[in-house]
């Protein structure tokens, strides 16, 4: 995997500080797990192919050598039982990190995740905890097709008892992973394949980025753009395109999707009166619907505002690039939607197509 410089500036931590070294998302993930495995020997990693030479697209590189096969091991193909085993280990006081190379495979784990992990602490009267992290990767591009491309975090957001996080940059990947591992609840940790090579400044030391606060990544006045997972990156580029047209967009990264801080978003929309949520998934009953509904609940009585949701096209993800391209939001489409909302009477506006393409998209090649 080549080093792509798509993160143009350091991502601030929760307190707004930047610092540390430039690190790729994939390495930040691994560093967080490695540091936490060093600190707490209850932490271990399991999942299909986490210990082979490809190291799950590099995200578990070196952990086997450092911690040995008791603390990082592959499993049989048996997502249902392996999820149960991870839950049981967590109930017994260990801190498992269960990894899936594609989020789509979590459909095999739903019974354990929804009927057991999400409910155990409550249904056992507070007597049992499930400090579990489930890592999964959203695939995109290059023929991933219908069953290797789904962003399913909205499905998990629906269920009390689970937490959900989808960091958009290397800095947050590290901080959120640390918080996820230390959390006493099951956390669905959602990664995006295309983010792996993106870089940001990441502190060397351990730091936590717990749920609670969405981040205003870039300020703006005309429209609020909320981007989830890699869509945050696409919104940032969309903002640059919009700037060309004199439109000022405020960009918000929710970071944690459950629990979800919408106060930050509501505050922004109170200023801009315009909201576009860009989902990395289908919009129907998606995170964007939740955000739009909360903003409507909060703002409705006060006066009008405009909202639009973007996300996967309401179809299945096709394999052929000629149509797959149109399945996803992209910076140009985000910018166009925002432009139209801000300047409804301005007519069709097309951003510079060259500037609209993200390096991480252009440079990604299969297989997988």
């Amino acid at each position: 995997m080549s080093t792509l410089k798509t993160a143009t500036k350091p991502a601030p931590d929760a307190a707004g500080n930047t610092g540390g070294r430039v690190l790729r998302y994939v390495d930040a993930l691994k560093e967080a797990v490695e540091q936490e495995m060093e600190r707490d020997d209850k932490v271990f990693v399991m999942g299909l192919d986490v210990d082979d030479h490809k190291a799950l697209q590099g995200s578990t590189r070196g952990l086997l050598q450092k911690f040995g096969p008791d603390r990082i091991f592959t499993t049989p193909l048996a997502e249902d039982a392996m999820t149960g085993a991870a839950i049981g280990a967590a109930m017994a006081g260990l801190r498992p990190i269960h990894v899936h190379i594609r989020m789509d495979f979590l459909m095999l784990s739903m019974n354990q995740l929804i009927n057991m992990a999400a409910k155990a602490h409550y249904m056992y009267g507070g007597n049992i905890k499930v400090p579990l992290v489930v890592r999964s990767i959203i695939g995109k591009s290059w023929g991933q097709g219908p069953q290797h491309s789904q962003g399913l975090y909205s499905t998990f957001m629906h269920f009390p008892g689970l937490k959900v996080v989808a960091p958009s940059n290397a800095h947050d990947a590290k901080g959120c992973m640390l918080s996820a591992i230390r959390d006493d609840n099951p956390v669905m940790f959602v990664e995006h394949r295309l983010l792996y090579p993106t870089e940001a400044y990441v502190p060397e030391e351990q730091f936590e980025l717990p749920p609670g606060k969405s981040r205003v990544v870039m300020p703006g006045d005309d429209v609020t753009l909320v981007g989830i997972s890699n869509m945050l990156v696409e919104c940032l580029r969309g903002r640059e395109l919009l700037a060309d047209a004199g439109v000022s967009a405020e960009i918000i990264d929710p970071i944690w999707l459950s629990p979800l801080d919408t106060d930050t978003i509501v505050k922004s929309v109170k200023k801009t009166r315009r909201l576009i949520v860009v989902d990395n998934g289908w919009t129907m009953c998606g995170a964007g619907a939740e955000i739009a509904a909360r903003v409507a609940e909060a703002l409705g009585p006060e006066g009008k505002f405009q909202v639009e949701r973007m996300g996967f096209a309401p179809t299945i993800c096709p394999t052929s690039p000629s149509i797959e391209d149109q399945f996803y939001p992209n910076p140009a489409r985000i910018a166009q939607a925002a432009h139209k909302m801000v300047r409804p009477k301005a007519g069709e506006w097309t951003p510079d197509p060259e500037r609209a393409v993200l390096a991480y998209q252009r440079q990604f090649r299969g297989p997988f």
Partner: protein, 319 residues
């Protein structure tokens, strides 16, 4: 015979009797609508839980299914907490939140049960991973019904347990029915479960007469080897019979799917009178009296306990 010393016989009897009487009382109280939970009674099936759990140490773990009163009691779970749970009270073992199908008593090493068939089988793998890592030779017994052996997760779990040599005792309470459907209408070869389990390299035992001491002896044989660490899981299939309806307190021999003729051999073979007969009558009477006292105390405890306060709806969603 005697397959066990007097001490053991006494303990086993007390446990069998306690479960039976506890559940008979549950069935008696049930029509009064004080019990706020569906109940899946183990009446008739007690010897499986008792045979297995009596062989376990206090610090070993065990967990059952939604038909889990027997496992809970046999493993030493607190019966006041159990009865209060059935009443939906705040003092219940899960504070009124789980009800009969989600029992646990972590103090007494009873791990949580579940209303979704088969779900706790892989959970036991995770506990066993932790026990193995701990290295103190503790084991976990994981109970399931015959229906669970049809779920894919059962097979996935066997393979993983064998692969990692985990200290799990898989206990099959084969009562030949899943709700009202007999095993022969659900499984292509209903009597090959042990043979199938053996193909994973897991020692498998079948006890067809529900003999509580036979079950216990299998455990007593296997446990030292399991505790030594590298032996891996075992599997015990115990034939047994559910005397009452699938869920609820009543009989259902008039509903057509089975008959009292099917029941009869199991009543004749009831382990409670059998083990009782091994005891000195005075001793037996003393145990019986203690059991009555304990069950009555549990009922009284449950009755006088408060319901959960309204705010309890919102506690324990997150740890």
């Amino acid at each position: 015979m005697p397959e066990a010393d007097t001490q053991t016989i006494r303990r086993v009897y007390a446990s069998l009797r306690l479960i039976r009487r506890f559940e008979e009382e549950v069935a008696r109280i049930y029509p009064e609508d004080k019990i706020k939970s569906p109940v899946h009674l183990s009446i008739g099936q007690e010897s499986v839980a008792v045979g297995v759990c009596d062989a376990l140490n206090k610090d070993d773990l065990a967990g059952g299914t939604y038909r889990g009163h027997a496992t809970y009691i046999a493993k030493g779970g607190d019966i006041n907490g159990l009865m209060a749970e059935l009443y939906g009270k705040d003092t219940g073992c899960t504070r009124g939140k789980g009800g009969s199908m989600h029992l646990c008593d972590i103090q007494n090493n009873v791990v949580g049960s579940s209303a979704v068939v088969g779900t706790t089988v892989p959970i036991a793998l995770g506990y066993a991973l932790a026990l193995k890592r701990e290295g103190k030779g503790r084991v976990i017994a994981s109970f399931m019904g015959d229906g669970a052996t049809e779920e894919g997760v059962f097979h996935e779990s066997l393979n993983f347990a064998a692969l990692k040599r985990l200290p799990v005792v898989f206990v099959l309470e084969n009562n030949f029915f899943a709700i009202h459907t007999p095993i022969a209408r659900r499984q292509a070869v209903p009597d090959a479960i042990c043979e199938r389990v053996q193909t994973y390299g897991i020692p498998a035992y079948r006890v067809t007469d529900a003999d509580v001491f036979k079950i216990r002896n299998i455990m007593m044989d296997a446990l030292p080897k399991m505790r030594r660490g590298e032996y891996g899981p075992i599997f015990i299939e115990c034939h047994t019979y559910r005397w009452r309806e699938h869920v609820g307190p009543a009989n259902d021999y008039d509903s057509g799917y089975r008959s009292t003729d099917d029941l009869k051999p199991w009543v004749d073979n009831d382990q409670i009178p059998r083990v009782a007969a091994m005891l000195d009558p005075d001793e037996r009477a003393a145990i019986d009296a203690q059991v009555e006292k304990d069950v009555a105390a549990a009922i009284a405890f449950a009755e006088k306990s408060p319901f959960p306060a309204a705010k309890e709806l919102y506690t324990h969603v997150y740890a």
